[in-house]
């Protein structure tokens, strides 16, 4: 059980840094990482010498040389007591924060820098970088051979299955994408800010039917870094601490076999039970959600998987405007992966920190006492989640 059973937070995020995000080929992931790390240390009011732990996360489709342990030399770090690269796809960002918190609690380190960096946007755009196999069937090379290519291919199967089970159609996906875009319009750093009308959505090209262009994440080159500290000293810095009370991981054992529904029943349910069960709270305690949402369908599946809606009811929940600005459960408040930017697990983490610090400007959620942040890898197979709060005690 990956659970911190405490209602008084043991750790907090005290620094947030980012590089300049770009939709054009520019710097390497490593150069973006350096920028974000320096920015995070400065944001936390620390000196580099005070950082004694470094955790790295690169895109799962990149080689380890893209973001090597030598990053520690690039940013002028000295002796460290914690150093590792975390590789659990899109669930890695929250896993890094969890491992940092656990290491701090165990006395291994005091201030841990966690960074994700990626530069998927090349000369031909950003989408091609993700045309990889998800190996859903479980036979090496089989999926590619049969043309089942990319995360989009895998999630298209999830959408079709969802449509079949619950009678939904493309309008459900449109509503999810349009809700995120409405938030993005309020986020100066989002890349796609023009409201998404129905006509434009339905006119956008198929990527893998039933997923259209506007159902898919908007990749950028960039990096985000955070600094994790023990809660005791978290308030010493210039920022209001972002306290983390609980973590939950969940990695689905569902197989591609009769009776299992891996398209719909994902690691979210397991991570949610571990997180909320560990804290002794229900999903209803959350004021807002920042989901890992590289495809429109994943917000629907996350709302259901984490227990905000019953299976099949996420569509009406979103269509009823609950997740939009002014709704009962503000969700993906920066515009999420679809409309703000896709930097894997760090997109939701970044936005959650902004909301807890009350730096959201026009998109600031009215109540920010407790937020849910999630990350996933595979086709929602690997999940990590955490709560964030401005209060040390909840």
């Amino acid at each position: 059980m990956n659970v911190v059973r405490k209602r008084s937070a043991a750790s907090a995020i005290i620094g947030l840094g980012e590089s300049t995000f770009s939709r054009k080929p520019d710097k390497t992931a490593r150069a973006h990482a350096v920028e974000a790390c320096l920015d995070a240390v400065s944001d936390a009011g620390l000196k580099m010498a005070e950082i004694d732990g470094l955790l790295l996360n690169r895109s799962p489709i990149e080689a380890s040389s893209v973001l090597p342990l030598h990053l520690k030399r690039d940013i002028g770090l000295g002796d460290l007591s914690l150093l590792a690269s975390v590789e659990a796809e899109g669930s890695s960002a929250i896993q890094m924060i969890q491992y940092a918190a656990l290491a701090i609690d165990a006395g291994m380190a005091e201030k841990v820098l966690c960074v994700f960096a990626d530069a998927p946007v090349g000369a031909t755009g950003g989408g091609d970088a993700y045309s990889i196999s998800m190996n859903l069937v479980g036979l090496d090379g089989w999926d590619e051979r049969h043309g089942l290519i990319g995360a989009t291919g895998g999630f298209a199967l999830s959408v079709q299955r969802y449509f079949h089970l619950y009678g939904a159609d493309s309008n459900a996906l449109y509503e999810a994408a349009a809700a995120d875009r409405e938030w993005a319009a309020l986020n100066p750093k989002a890349f796609l800010r023009k409201p998404l009308d129905k006509e434009e959505y339905f006119a956008s090209r198929w990527i893998v039917e039933p997923l259209r262009l506007f159902d898919c994440a908007y990749p950028v080159n960039g990096a985000v870094a955070v600094i994790v500290s023990g809660a005791e000293s978290a308030a010493d810095g210039p920022n209001s601490p972002v306290y983390v009370h609980g973590f939950g991981q969940g990695h689905s054992g569902a197989r591609n076999f009769a009776g299992a529904e891996p398209e719909i029943q994902t690691g979210a349910g397991i991570a949610g039970r571990n997180l909320f069960g560990g804290l002794g709270i229900t999903p209803g305690a959350c004021d807002f959600c920042e989901f890992y949402n590289p495809f429109s369908i994943t917000t629907i599946l996350a709302l259901e998987g984490y227990g905000f809606c019953k299976p099949g009811e996420g569509v009406d929940f979103i269509a009823g405007r609950a997740t939009r600005p002014g709704g009962a459960l503000p969700t993906n408040t920066g515009g999420g992966h679809l409309s703000s930017y896709y930097l894997q697990g760090m997109t939701p983490v970044h936005e959650a920190i902004v909301q807890i610090r009350r730096c959201g400007g026009e998109r600031q959620v009215p109540s920010n006492n407790l937020g849910l942040v999630t990350g996933f890898g595979g086709r929602m197979e690997y999940h990590s989640a955490m709560t964030v709060s401005p209060h040390r005690e909840i």
Partner: protein, 130 residues
């Protein structure tokens, strides 16, 4: 994306995969099954998920139903001109397998429809409406 998938030599495949393809091209579709008799497993199993014994190849009926499907509008390799439909077939024996839909000119497929193994050429397994 170009044609980087075009010339993948079969000999570089995992031996289990190349054997499944070899037999499929000879007209016999196989699944993985527990050697100790627990029955069919999913294709990702390398030991029986129930008892931990090895798995082996066993012929299946070739009949199944569409668990899900998607239509690809981009061409990734020369043997599969776009658009093409990928089926996730649930075999009657239980395991689910991705296959290309062999349904030119026929009615559109939907989830739950009965399909049948219609052969394999160039390492691509196809299913058609039953």
């Amino acid at each position: 994306m170009g044609s980087r998938l075009d010339d993948t030599p079969t000999k570089d495949l995992d031996p289990v995969v190349s054997e499944i393809l070899r037999r499929a091209e000879a007209g016999e579709l196989c699944c993985l099954s527990c050697a100790a008799g627990c029955g069919a497993t999913d294709y990702a199993a390398r030991i029986c998920p129930s008892c931990g014994n090895p798995v082996e190849l066993r012929p299946v009926s070739g009949r199944g139903r569409i668990h899900s499907y998607s239509v690809f509008h981009t061409q990734y390799h020369s043997k599969l001109p776009a658009p093409y439909t990928v089926l996730l077939v649930e075999l009657d024996e239980g395991p689910r397998l991705a296959a290309v839909f062999d349904g030119e000119g026929g009615p559109p497929q939907k989830v739950g429809d009965a399909v049948v193994f219609s052969g394999a050429v160039n390492g691509i397994v196809r299913f058609s409406m039953a």
